[in-house]
Amino acid sequence: MLGEGIIQGLVETARNFFGSYVEKDRLTTVQYPEERHTLPEASRNFPFLLYDGTDPEAGLRCVACQICEKECPPRCIHIEKSKDKKPDFVGKQQAYPVVFDIDVAVCMSCQICVEVCPFDAIRMDKEFELSTSNRFGGLLWTKKELAKPNEYYRKIHPVEAAETDERREQELAAAQAKAAAAEAARAAQTSASATPGEASGNGASAPPAKTVVPQ
C-alpha cells in the first residue's frame, strides 16, 4: 500500500518520543552546565606536573630530562634545564626545570608525554573547561600553573595513582636498602681500615643506587 512505509516511520518516531519519558536508553542528554556526566578515570585532557609534599618547587618530580619535549608530536613543551641540582625523592641529585611551559593552544591531548616520561613526573588532567579571554598569557601555562600535588592525582586517577605510588615506594625502599648497605660497608671499612685493596673494592659500590634510567 502506498504510504505504508511513511506510516511505519512515523510509528518509530512516536515510539521514540514516548519512550524517551520512560527509558533512560532513549534519552541520554544532560543539561550541561548544571548537570554533568562523571568522567571515566582514563579520561584525559591536558598534562600537569606532579609534585610530592607541599612545596611545588622542592617536590617537583620533573628532572628536566627533556624527553617529553623531544617526543611531543606538536612540540608544545618548552623546558630549560637548571645548572644546579636538587635531591629527588630517593635523595639522588638531579637537575630540575627552571622553565617548563606548555602551550595550551597547541597541545593536542595525546598523552605521549605521559607515556615517555620515565620519572612519573607528568600526568593527564581531566579538567576541560580551559577557555580564557586572554589569548596570550592565558594559553601559555608555566611551571606555576602546571604543578599539582600528588593528592590531586590520587583524586582524579585513583587506580593509576595507587600503582604509581606503590612502584615509587618500592624504588624508595630499594634505594634506602642500598644506601644502608653502602653505609654499613663504609662503617665496617673505616673501623677495620686494614687492607687498601679491600677498601677500593668497597668504594666502587658506595655511590647511591641508580633507580631510574633516564635514557
Binding site: E12, A42, S43, S109, E115
Partner: protein, 383 residues
C-alpha cells in the same frame, strides 16, 4: 551568470536553444559538504553538465609532518585524518609499522583491535546514514537517533582510551592499555541492545516511499567504472563488486570471524544506503564472536621499542578496510628514527574522484545526496 568558460580544460558544449549555462560554487561552506569542500557545478537549468570537486582547504601537511617525527609521534596525527574513525586510522598505521619492523601482536590485543575497530565502523555508518537522511530533508530525527547510539560507543572509547574521538589508542606491538572485564561487559550489554536500535533505524525510513523515489536510480555508479577508478568500501560494494579487505587480506585476525559482505545491485544512492544498513548487522556478528572468544593475556609485545623505533631499511604497505574503504599507509624506512617516506591512501579522496561521473545529468538537488552517499571526511581528503 556566465556563458561557457573558454579556457576550461574540459570545455562545456554550448547548448542548443535559449538559456545559458550557470556556474554555481557549492561550498566551501555549504551545509551539504560536511566540511570545507567546494563543488564547481555548471548547470543547464537544474541539470548538472559539469562538476569539479575542489579540495585542499583542510590541508595540514600530514605526510611531511610524519616524515619529520618519530614513528610514535605519528599515531596521534593519524587520529585526525578521518576524525570520526580514529581507531581504524590508528590500526592502518600501526599495521604498516608492524610490517616494516616485523613486530608481532599479542592475541588479546588483536581481539581488542577488532572490537574497537568494529565499534568505530558502527558509529561511522550509523552517523553517515543519519547525515544522508538529513541531506534528503529528514532533518534531525534519524541523525539524532544515530548520534544517540554513537554517543554510547564514544563513551566506551573514552573509558578505554581516555578520549572520545582522538583516541590515540593503538601502538605498534599491541594497544596502549588493557581493557578491564567491566569494560568488556559494558560492550556486551551495548551489543545486546544495538539490534533493537537497528530494527527501529531500518523501519524508520527503509520502506519510505518518498525516500525510495528520491534515491533509486540516482547517482548510479557502474561496476566497471567503480573498479577502474579504484573506488573501495561500501561505495564499491553497492555497485556489486565483492571486495572487502577484511575478507581479501584477512589482516589481523579477521579470518576467524564468520560474517558476510552485503552487496548492492544497481549502484545507486539507495543501494549505498542499504549496503551500509546491512553492514551494521554484520558488524554486530563480528562483535559478538570477538567478545565471546577474547582470551586473557598481555596486550603489548614487551620487546617493542615504542620510543626510538628504528626499523631496518625497507618499505611496507599496511592496509585495512576502514569504514570508508581501503585505508593504506605506505612507509619507507632508511634505518633512521623517522620514516623516509610516509604516504596515506585515503579512501574518501579516491572515492571522490568519480563524483562528477555520478552527478552528470542529475538535478542539482541530487548532487547533495550523491555526495552524502559517498561518505567523505575532509580531514582525510585533504590531509
Amino acid at each position: 551568470m556566465s556563458g561557457p568558460v573558454v579556457d576550461d580544460p574540459i570545455a562545456v558544449k554550448p547548448i542548443a536553444g535559449p538559456g545559458e549555462i550557470m556556474e554555481v560554487s557549492m561550498g566551501p561552506h555549504h551545509p551539504s559538504t560536511h566540511g570545507v569542500f567546494r563543488m564547481d557545478v555548471r548547470l543547464d537549468g537544474e541539470r548538472v553538465v559539469r562538476l569539479k570537486p575542489v579540495f585542499g582547504y583542510l590541508h595540514r601537511n600530514h605526510e611531511k609532518i610524519a616524515e619529520h617525527g618519530a614513528y610514535l609521534a605519528s599515531i596521534p596525527y593519524t587520529d585526525r585524518l578521518d576524525y570520526l574513525c580514529s581507531m581504524t586510522n590508528n590500526w592502518g598505521y600501526v599495521l604498516a609499522v608492524e610490517k616494516l619492523a616485523g613486530i608481532a601482536v599479542p592475541e588479546r590485543a588483536e581481539y581488542i583491535r577488532v572490537i574497537v575497530g568494529e565499534l568505530t565502523r558502527f558509529q561511522n555508518h550509523a552517523g553517515l546514514i543519519g547525515f544522508l537522511l538529513q541531506d534528503m530533508g529528514a532533518s534531525g530525527t534519524p541523525l539524532m537517533y544515530a548520534f544517540r547510539e554513537r554517543e554510547k560507543i564514544l563513551d566506551l572509547f573514552e573509558a578505554l582510551s581516555g578520549a572520545r574521538m582522538m583516541c590515540n589508542y593503538m601502538r605498534f606491538g599491541g594497544v596502549r592499555v588493557d581493557c578491564s572485564a567491566e569494560w568488556l561487559d559494558e560492550v556486551r550489554q551495548l551489543v545486546g541492545r544495538l539490534p533493537r536500535f537497528l530494527d527501529e533505524f531500518e523501519s524508520l525510513l527503509r520502506a519510505n516511499e518518498i525516500l525510495m523515489a528520491r534515491t533509486q536510480g540516482v547517482g548510479v555508479l557502474p561496476r566497471e567504472l567503480a573498479i577502474s577508478a579504484g573506488v573501495t568500501g561500501p561505495l564499491l560494494r553497492a555497485s556489486g563488486v565483492n571486495y572487502d579487505i577484511r575478507k581479501v587480506d584477512k589482516y589481523g585476525i579477521y579470518d576467524r570471524f564468520d560474517f558476510r559482505v552485503p552487496l548492492g545491485d544497481h549502484g545507486d544512492v539507495y543501494d549505498r544506503y542499504m549496503v551500509r544498513l546491512l553492514e551494521l548487522r554484520e558488524m554486530l556478528k563480528i562483535l559478538e564472536q570477538a567478545l565471546r572468544d577474547i582470551p586473557e593475556g598481555p596486550v603489548m609485545d614487551p620487546k617493542t621499542r615504542l620510543r626510538g623505533l628504528r626499523p631496518k631499511a625497507g618499505e611496507a604497505y599496511g592496509r585495512i578496510e576502514s569504514p570508508k574503504g581501503e585505508l593504506g599507509f605506505f612507509l619507507i624506512s632508511d634505518g633512521t628514527g623517522n620514516p623516509y617516506r610516509y604516504r596515506v591512501r585515503p579512501p574518501s579522496m579516491i572515492n571522490l574522484t568519480i563524483l562528477e561521473d555520478m552527478c552528470l545529468g542529475q538535478n542539482i538537488a541530487d548532487v547533495v545526496i550523491i555526495l552524502g552517499s559517498v561518505d567523505i571526511v575532509l580531514g582525510e581528503v585533504d590531509r
